[in-house]
């Protein structure tokens, strides 16, 4: 999952980015409204976390322009404004959620996860392909009865592929969703990661391959052999 955080207070932005990254999200961040709008329009973020009082372009204006540009990325307003009027105005502008500062970081992460589930129209935190199950709430993966331990990045890759089960995902899409700006990967990094993931989720020699390659197009997950 790839997120955008637009928050002008660096003292707050830094720990939030750290927490989100530690929770397996790829995070881009900025402290400027205009730059945030540009990034949101350029990339397909799974969730955008937006402050309201921002330099150069107000958070509400950023959201308005995003919705005018037909961006359907879920937006969570993260702001100090706590009045009912402000919350209602924010939600009416097209925000999907509203969180008042100060907040518990766990709550922010839970809300971000809920918003990303809503984006992919999944109610349950559990995703499954064949006998492979991924639990987004406990960040755990099981194949049959075997627990599988994955690094944060491989977990994100598997989650992304499972969310788009049966759909071919290009390398570029994977790059955009799994890696943030700072860790812009070379194209073979995606291939290496997919290869590593295949090996990790193959718990025995009899385990059928769940990640398939469409040559020149990308990868997709399916329980059936292609």
């Amino acid at each position: 999952m790839k997120l955008l955080l637009v928050e002008d207070s660096e003292a707050l932005r830094r720990p939030v980015v750290k927490a989100l990254k530690a929770s397996g999200f790829a995070v881009d961040s900025t402290g400027d409204g205009k730059e945030g709008l540009w990034m949101a329009l350029e990339h397909d973020y799974d969730v955008i976390i937006l402050d309201i009082m921002l330099p150069s372009l107000d958070g509400r204006e950023v959201l308005k322009r995003l919705r005018e540009a037909n961006s359907d990325s879920p937006v969570l307003f993260l702001t100090a404004k706590d009045s009912i009027e402000d919350r209602v105005a924010g939600l009416r502008l097209g925000a999907d959620d509203y969180l008042v500062k100060s907040f518990a970081i766990e709550e922010l992460i839970a809300r971000v996860e809920a918003l990303s589930r809503r984006k992919y129209q999944i109610r349950s935190p559990k995703l499954s392909v064949g006998d492979l199950t991924l639990d987004r709430s406990t960040k755990s993966v099981k194949r049959g009865e075997h627990n599988i331990s994955l690094s944060t990045q491989l977990f994100s890759l598997l989650e992304y592929l499972m969310l788009n089960k049966g759909t071919v995902i290009s390398r570029t899409q994977i790059e955009q969703h799994i890696y943030d700006e700072q860790v812009a990967p070379m194209s073979n990094v995606v291939d290496t990661a997919v290869c590593a993931l295949r090996k990790t989720i193959s718990v025995s020699k009899d385990s059928p391959s769940l990640i398939h390659t469409r040559r020149g197009m990308g990868y997709f997950m399916s329980a059936e052999n292609s």
Binding site: D8, L12, R14, A19, A22, L54, A80, K81, S102
Partner: protein
């Protein structure tokens, strides 16, 4: 509670009743006069008939047996209206009764001779019989001519009919007056109700106005002219109230941002450090310290403002040298002045003594100088003048980014030109504190922006 309706009813109803009583009395007396005049005319006619009968030979009256008729019958013969009974009594010169009508029986009429009349032209009198019957009488002289002596006569008529008519008229007048009073009261209540309808509607509209609907304005076109000024005043009051609410809301929003953002930063940094200790760095501690300092500055400034606001008149006025305070404040900012390459010019007599509270005056001057040094563009001039005619002190600096709206708002609590409030080093309370302190010292702090974008902050005597 005093009610306009009750007040009007209390004043107007008795007035109506009084007017009705006066009108009824006037009608009564005019009717009484009319009836008595009619009776007097009857008596006068009767007197003429008596005179005619006495001066006329008996056989002159027409009709069969005219010569055998009694005096009363002959008089009746001459009268147009024979239905009303009359009384007649005649005296000779020696006031001996010569004749009297039979219907008098034992009763005697009063003779009032012309020479005994004392009340000018008054010739008609009221009297009564021993039976209690009221009568109206008229005395006159029957001139007999040269051959016989004059006689005196009195004619009278009963007043019973007049009294009865007057009684009926009085009853009618009383009933009419009561009905008029009742009708007027109903009309009054209806008119008051209708007249006060706009006031009731106004009250209902005002009840509906709440904190969230202060942009609502009362319609002054549909109310009577008398309460139109009241509606206009209320609308002005609502506008001021709405403005105050907007300012208060802006203040609470700004305060929430000033307090919650550093608090959120401290909380999130701590939570992340606890949950993912491997992610924690020394920089995080630095950010926590900065956020705590930011919180401290905000709370400190707010407390200063609150203390000045609540200080009342507890100030120690003494002779203070403005030039010394200005010089000290400039020296405190010397490093920043040098760093920002500002040219600070001071124009003040040395010493420049005024009577004021030194503590508050220092707060005002230091905030004005701090503001100029912080926000004047680098490599520009900051001018401090204590020798101007109209002001105690004026601090001027270039402010190319300010506009007239900023000038109006710059003394508001937590106001910042930067709407996003990203800058952590300023809270937006300095000028507000200076303004409040100047108010406490009965001074005016006025901001003006000249055409060449020079901001002048002037401290003036009221």
């Amino acid at each position: 509670m005093r009610s306009i309706r009750n007040q009007l009813l209390i004043w107007l109803l008795p007035s109506f009743i009084l007017i009705a009583i006066l009108a009824s009395s006037a009608l009564y007396f005019s009717e009484k006069l009319r009836l008595e005049t009619n009776l007097d005319n009857e008596l006068s006619k009767l007197a003429r008939a008596v005179k005619l009968v006495h001066n006329m030979p008996r056989n002159r009256l027409g009709g069969p047996g005219g010569g055998r008729l009694s005096t009363t019958e002959r008089i009746n013969f001459l009268r147009d209206d024979e239905s009303s009974e009359f009384y007649l009594q005649i005296w000779d010169e020696t006031e001996q009764v010569v004749s009297k009508s039979k219907n008098l029986d034992k009763e005697e009429l009063m003779l009032v001779r012309a020479q005994t009349q004392t009340s000018g032209n008054k010739t008609h009198y009221d009297s009564s019989f021993s039976s209690g019957e009221n009568i109206r009488l008229y005395s006159f002289t029957i001139l007999a001519g040269p051959l016989s002596s004059d006689k005196y006569a009195t004619v009278a008529m009963s007043k019973s009919l007049v009294n009865r008519q007057l009684h009926h008229f009085t009853v009618k007048v009383i009933i009419g007056s009561a009905f008029c009073c009742l009708l007027l009261s109903v009309i009054l209540i209806f008119v008051i109700k209708r007249t006060l309808t706009p006031v009731h509607k106004l009250a209902e509209q005002l009840i509906c106005i709440e904190a969230g609907s202060l942009d609502y304005r009362l319609d002054s076109d549909v109310v009577p002219a008398e309460i139109s000024p009241l509606v206009e005043r209320l609308n002005q009051l609502l506008a001021r109230l709405a403005q105050s609410f907007v300012k208060e809301r802006q203040f609470s929003n700004d305060l929430a941002h000033e307090l919650r953002t550093p608090l959120a930063a401290i909380r999130t940094t701590s939570e992340v450090a606890l949950k993912w200790p491997e992610q924690s760095t020394i920089e995080d501690h630095q950010y926590i310290a900065e956020s705590a300092e930011q919180l401290h500055n905000t709370i400190d400034s707010l407390l200063s403002l609150a203390r000045i606001e609540s200080a009342g008149q507890e100030f120690a006025f003494e002779c203070v040298d403005i030039a010394t305070i200005v010089t000290e404040c400039i020296s405190l900012k010397a490093e920043q002045i040098k760093k920002r390459r500002l040219r600070v010019t001071l124009s003040a007599n040395n010493p420049h003594i005024i009577k004021s509270d030194p503590y508050l005056l220092r707060i005002i001057i230091s905030n004005l100088i701090n503001n100029a040094v912080e926000y004047a563009p680098t490599n520009t001039e900051v001018s401090i003048n204590a020798n101007l005619k109209d002001s105690l002190l004026t601090v001027s600096n270039s402010a190319p980014n300010l506009n007239d709206n900023d000038i109006k708002a710059m003394f508001d609590r937590l106001w910042r030109k930067d709407g996003s409030r990203t800058d952590k080093t300023h809270v937006g309370l300095g000028l507000s504190i200076a303004y409040t302190a100047s108010q406490a010292l009965s001074l005016n702090l006025i901001a003006t922006l000249s055409n060449d974008k020079l901001l002048h902050l002037s401290l003036m005597k009221r």
